[in-house]
Symmetry: C3
Subunit: 348 residues, 3 copies
Amino acid sequence: MEFTAKIISDFLKGTIEGNPEEKVTDISRIEEGKKGTLAFLANPKYNKYLYTTEASIVLVNNDLKLEGEVKATLIRVSDAYQAFASLLNLYTSSLPKKRGVEPQAFINDNATIGEDCYIGAFAYLGGNVKIGKSTLIYPHVYLGDNVTVGDNTILYPGVKVYKECKIGNNCIIHGGTIIGSDGFGFATEKGKFQKIPQIGNVIIEDDVEIGSNVSIDRATIGSTIIRKGAKLDNLIQVAHNVEIGKNTGIASQAGISGSTKIGEQCIIAGQVGFVGHINIANKTTIAAQSGVVGDVKNEGEIILGSPAIDIRDARKSIAVYRKLPEIYSNINQLEKQLKELQDGSNKE
Amino acid sequence: MEFTAKIISDFLKGTIEGNPEEKVTDISRIEEGKKGTLAFLANPKYNKYLYTTEASIVLVNNDLKLEGEVKATLIRVSDAYQAFASLLNLYTSSLPKKRGVEPQAFINDNATIGEDCYIGAFAYLGGNVKIGKSTLIYPHVYLGDNVTVGDNTILYPGVKVYKECKIGNNCIIHGGTIIGSDGFGFATEKGKFQKIPQIGNVIIEDDVEIGSNVSIDRATIGSTIIRKGAKLDNLIQVAHNVEIGKNTGIASQAGISGSTKIGEQCIIAGQVGFVGHINIANKTTIAAQSGVVGDVKNEGEIILGSPAIDIRDARKSIAVYRKLPEIYSNINQLEKQLKELQDGSNKE
Amino acid sequence: MEFTAKIISDFLKGTIEGNPEEKVTDISRIEEGKKGTLAFLANPKYNKYLYTTEASIVLVNNDLKLEGEVKATLIRVSDAYQAFASLLNLYTSSLPKKRGVEPQAFINDNATIGEDCYIGAFAYLGGNVKIGKSTLIYPHVYLGDNVTVGDNTILYPGVKVYKECKIGNNCIIHGGTIIGSDGFGFATEKGKFQKIPQIGNVIIEDDVEIGSNVSIDRATIGSTIIRKGAKLDNLIQVAHNVEIGKNTGIASQAGISGSTKIGEQCIIAGQVGFVGHINIANKTTIAAQSGVVGDVKNEGEIILGSPAIDIRDARKSIAVYRKLPEIYSNINQLEKQLKELQDGSNKE
């Protein structure tokens, strides 16, 4: 397919600077741009590449100020990243989708499958499984008894969903993710662990995306819940009875202990850990590798550190932390000088 | 099924406060309790819900002091959490168990399978695999050549066990867990890595539970060993030649480097890391996100931090750490004041 | 098989101390050595076992100085660890290799498979998949459309490779590892996430080994690249558009955020985290649990901490950190004494 700057700009409701007839047939990263490709510029870290890129067209923000000569034709839009996302979505929605049931799939007689689905070879659908319309179940997916999956959802190869769990519409779950494994619950008796059976389930609401190799445990009783629009990256731990709020994003390798509730529109960075049984307010931001050990009560807080505290305080402590060796020597110096003064004072 | 408070209390050897004929048909969490359900109260954080819950029966500890009016019928027991666990175990043991071999399983001619097992579709049993009685092998499980699995063990969907590894009786291993992958061992020669073949295996003793997406590497030589009764949560790394002691519990995302030996009845919290080749004494407790860089020699130590130190010392340092900006300004103040004193003193 | 010290020493070009006719039939760890086995000693932590081991032959470094009587026959070599690796490689290369296509595999008509490959039952090869010679594809491996795998590569059970990704020659990828899942990319609009389609791929060059349960995301556009000879341990996160340099080694549970580029011959310890869009110089060493928040510009740097700084500075700060409670009390003492001096001074 070939597109002109004009066609793209019209689609994005943008403004052209340069040749409206400039043509592209592919997409590239701005730092690797080649003739005939379209790139975008959103992160200011990459501004410098605008002046050297070979890309034929570059999407930029309306407010970008040029600081040199640009060879490419520019299309200005209010949000270049989002505009680029729209183009990619247009492109991917034009790709053919898998359909039909491969004969090597195992489908229990009681399972029901909606129209236009794909069920890959070696997928396993247990008793009373219900799958909506236009959903893709890739090879090696396991759906235990009584699992339901909504419409237009994608389960990539190797996803395992234990019995009774529910997955909504328009979800994407990547390979190797395990949904509904037992929560880690034990009573201890004379130094031995006694298993607490985990008889709840996992509910994943609509529009949720979950990365690869994520572990989401079923509730002891009740449900572990991922609310509508939440997005989870890879290798994340979600313990039993956790609840993750609407439109919250969680980066890779974060871990959330049992019964903790995370609010809506939170941003959780990579490798963050949460203790159990705490509540995190809506719109909380948590910096990477933080350890969250108590409730976050006020909307919009930004926290950092292990244990995590307000990011401004945390940064001040970090700044001083680096000076600790110098401070230590200063204190020793102070003590010595004070001693001299005291001695002098005593002599008088 | 329907049970009265009297029947439950008799089973648990408890004491009833309220209506012995109160009936329940389901289980609930105390904060979400509904009429006709049984809940329990063990964590004091949830005490407040006792006075508002709609649950018909609540299990509580003998020593709980009421601080208000309670609508529910109470059953007092010595340990409410454990009593609840017993009830759940009773319930789950009454559920039907999967049995039989689904024809789509791959079973090598030399494999032997005990009575009353379940072998799911697309499970793969290699040469000389031996499986005991009443064991459940779910779909997509892989057992390499010469693997043995004991009696009454459950391998959930997608567990992979490499050749020569041994799994005991009454074990539970959750989906996506990999047992027996190569240890990460290389010699370096002129800046390149030369692989050290890993020819040992993994031994998992009886009564072990392992969560989902755990990685347990085979030993270089000898065995990586998980001792009887140990419990591992999800996404844990167990490197080659590690040994984990009896009845030790390890929370999610902890990582244990090669040849480290962890004692019995230890409690390891989430995201803890251990360097290699160290020994951890029995009954050690390690707080979340700690980094353990040396032996722990005395039984019963509790450590925290990265590098981890005695938890009391660690907490004192954390408390002062938060005051660092203030301390820094105090020191600057002190230096200034001392300077003034010195100047005054010099003038005299 | 039985070997004499002489045969082994000749193969390794070593020097014998003891009985050249000493025989071994197996391998052991020095601390668990038994008669008839060969052990090695490379890590000085294990020196003490040399004087008590029952192993019949021990490989040691040329420069090892004996500090007691040794029962075993010694073979001295320049690098005992590497010599041991050579022996293990000799041993494992003598083991029979799996070959042939198990009939329960799913192979798309358009897929091509080189000579002497193994394709296990329930492996799935999509359209236009190309596999080189002598490559092993274990059960439950998924290769999406247009995936290519080189010669002499091993994909262990449960590896999933999404469409369009490329894997080189002589690679080893362990169970449960997911290659090519979508990068975690979203634009936000009115508090909701809008997915950025990820249309790039993953390229894994020759001689790469990747552990179990690793997640490697495909690029948004372009490629996520693991360069020749790099070695990754288990449970590692590699985000979209990351590049890992030649012969770099990364330990378990490390996480690398999007578009970060790691140089050649770096050593990354366990649980390290990297923010996105940074560059790490060649031969950088990063200590365990560090958080890397900016470029590392100079070759050969060693860094530690979260945020990571030069390891010498980091260690100094850690040393003082432990003394913080004492320092705090000293400062309070100083303030008090200074106050007294000031009061004294004012009175004069």
